[in-house]
Symmetry: C2
Subunit: 334 residues, 2 copies
């Protein structure tokens, strides 16, 4: 098969690779579309110790079953593969299973990803494509499940309702925009500020999201003001913005992984009873709920997705790297 | 009146001071006993910008009403004075009121503390001493309310019950011990490890608390193991121990304020969905519930409290500073 292979830091090569082998309990999927995630970019920058080249990246995948129980069916994949037997898996917290792996990773266990013509995946991770969700748009289900999980983590912990909460979204990438769309269109949140230093991306997001879009130095980002802050970037500078702008008793939801450690104002967190929750995945239920949300067009038009041919994937990665891209999400199609 | 006055970094002088004036809506309390808190030590070390010398410290106070509506009554004081009118105060979260002040602070507003013969306090902050609580022991209600609030914050957020949770308590000072006693005796928690580098203090705590008491390098402090960790110290090194030892999906309750900022493993917090909650105070309801707990002897003997004369207060502060003190709490009596 042809595949886009991550061969070295900032290097991707479209080349011939071996087809995945048929494994018991798994199916081979003919990939139709596969989205580029922030974590793929993290790998591309040579900063992800779970994704070591050579490797086929990509875990936001739709396609058609080529070999397996449901051959011929159009499907969307849940790329989070868990053991099914541990305490977490048995208690609907599969995303915390300590044997979990995601497609397009090779540490500790190899699982080739979706930037290829074919990919292998356990049958239990396969969902039939809902009838009103287009196969090219379907890979958005994966980051949308991440965003839904993050929003609902906040919803469970916040004392007032999300509807009446002042929200700050840091980052207008796919996760920031998807959190915003879920907050606005599913949770009826009326008071959203979204911040991003990239003007083009901010403008693109505001075509779809009912929010105030601002640069990081905006006067709308008032200190001690927001009931809930979503940091979808995870840089030192965004975490500092999060802790500055959160109100007493407020909640910070931290989804980004850009800088893994760094300082934090623990004094404010302590004196003002701030809750900080890290998150980056979703449960099986979140994934199923996301498919319903998308099938019912609950988050509106997905025209903010940009499509490129898989064989041109290297230039898409380069454009994202160069910050030359306004689209919050690029999906590669075979 | 005589008072123990904080006059400069690591200096306390027992000397004559002006009596507090009678103010409308307040009472003058003849102090019987007043406990030394970690935050008083923080001030003593010149590190608290809310407590600038000269100042009478102390906010864990019992006594008798000298002048006021309830003259002659034995009382215990809730030292947290709030506006009563803001959104927080009206929603049972008085501890987050942004006009809140505590006795024994002078920034932004001056409120002399309890290391004196007399102290003035709003009537609404006065509670009658419950009949089975001794007046010398009563100041422990304040740190006990801090611990109760912290434990119940954890209890509200944890998915399994506290009873079945593996708990790590960092620090065997008053807050660590009180959290432990509430967890063990009120919440029926069976699986507690308490860690402190101070052997004497650890041994003293273990006379009262059913837990494994260990030094920070112990093999019992297993990585990714504890469902909930209470960091009652708030040093960089204790926060790092907290994030290392917390299990996926677990909760860190951060009560200490020793080092106000510093690095943190946000990668683990994000990948493992860790919840970090800062806390250092309590609501009025917590304070009332604490008085019932103490009155009903629910946390057992309070013989771990050590008593000194107020006039000898300077040497008590010095001993705590020198780490020469095994008692988790020293209370000064007039």
């Amino acid at each position: 098969m042809q595949a886009l292979v991550y061969t070295d830091t900032q290097k991707l090569v479209y080349r011939e690779e071996k087809n995945p082998k048929v494994v018991n309990g798994e199916s081979i999927v003919k990939v139709f579309a596969s989205g580029i995630c922030g974590s793929d970019m993290h790998a591309y920058h040579g900063k992800d110790n779970r994704r070591i080249p050579p490797l086929i990246l990509g875990h936001e995948i739709s396609g058609t079953i080529d070999k397996g129980k449901f051959a011929g069916k159009k499907v969307i994949l849940n790329p989070l593969i868990t053991c099914g037997e541990c305490e977490y898996c048995k208690n609907n917290r599969e995303h915390l299973c300590n044997k979990r792996i995601i497609l397009g990773m090779n540490k500790p266990i190899e699982r080739q990803g979706g930037f290829a013509e074919y990919v292998s995946i356990p049958d239990k991770n396969i969902y039939e494509l809902p009838k009103d969700l287009k196969i090219n748009e379907a890979p958005i289900a994966e980051p949308c499940a991440v965003a839904l999980h993050a929003v609902e983590l906040g919803e469970k912990k916040i004392l007032k309702s999300l509807k009446d909460s002042k929200v700050l979204l840091i980052g207008a990438g796919a996760i920031g925009l998807l959190c915003g769309l879920i907050l606005s269109k599913v949770k009826n949140c009326k008071n959203i500020v979204i911040v991003d230093p990239n003007d083009k991306r901010l403008k693109e997001s505001l075509k779809y999201l009912d929010a105030d879009g601002v640069k990081p130095d905006s006067k709308l980002i008032i200190n001690d003001n927001f009931d809930i802050v979503f940091d979808t970037v995870g840089l030192e500078v965004t975490r500092q913005q999060a802790i500055r702008s959160i109100s007493p008793g407020g909640i910070i939801i931290h989804i980004g992984l850009t800088q893994p450690s760094g300082p934090f104002d623990f004094r404010k967190a302590t004196l003002q009873e701030i809750t900080f929750i890290g998150t980056y995945c979703y449960t099986n239920k979140d994934f199923e709920k996301t498919l319903q949300i998308l099938n019912n067009k609950k988050i509106g038009s997905l025209d903010w997705i940009e499509y490129r041919a898989l064989r041109e994937g290297a230039s898409a990665f380069k454009e994202i790297h160069d910050n030359a891209c306004s689209a919050p999400k690029i999906i590669l199609t075979t």
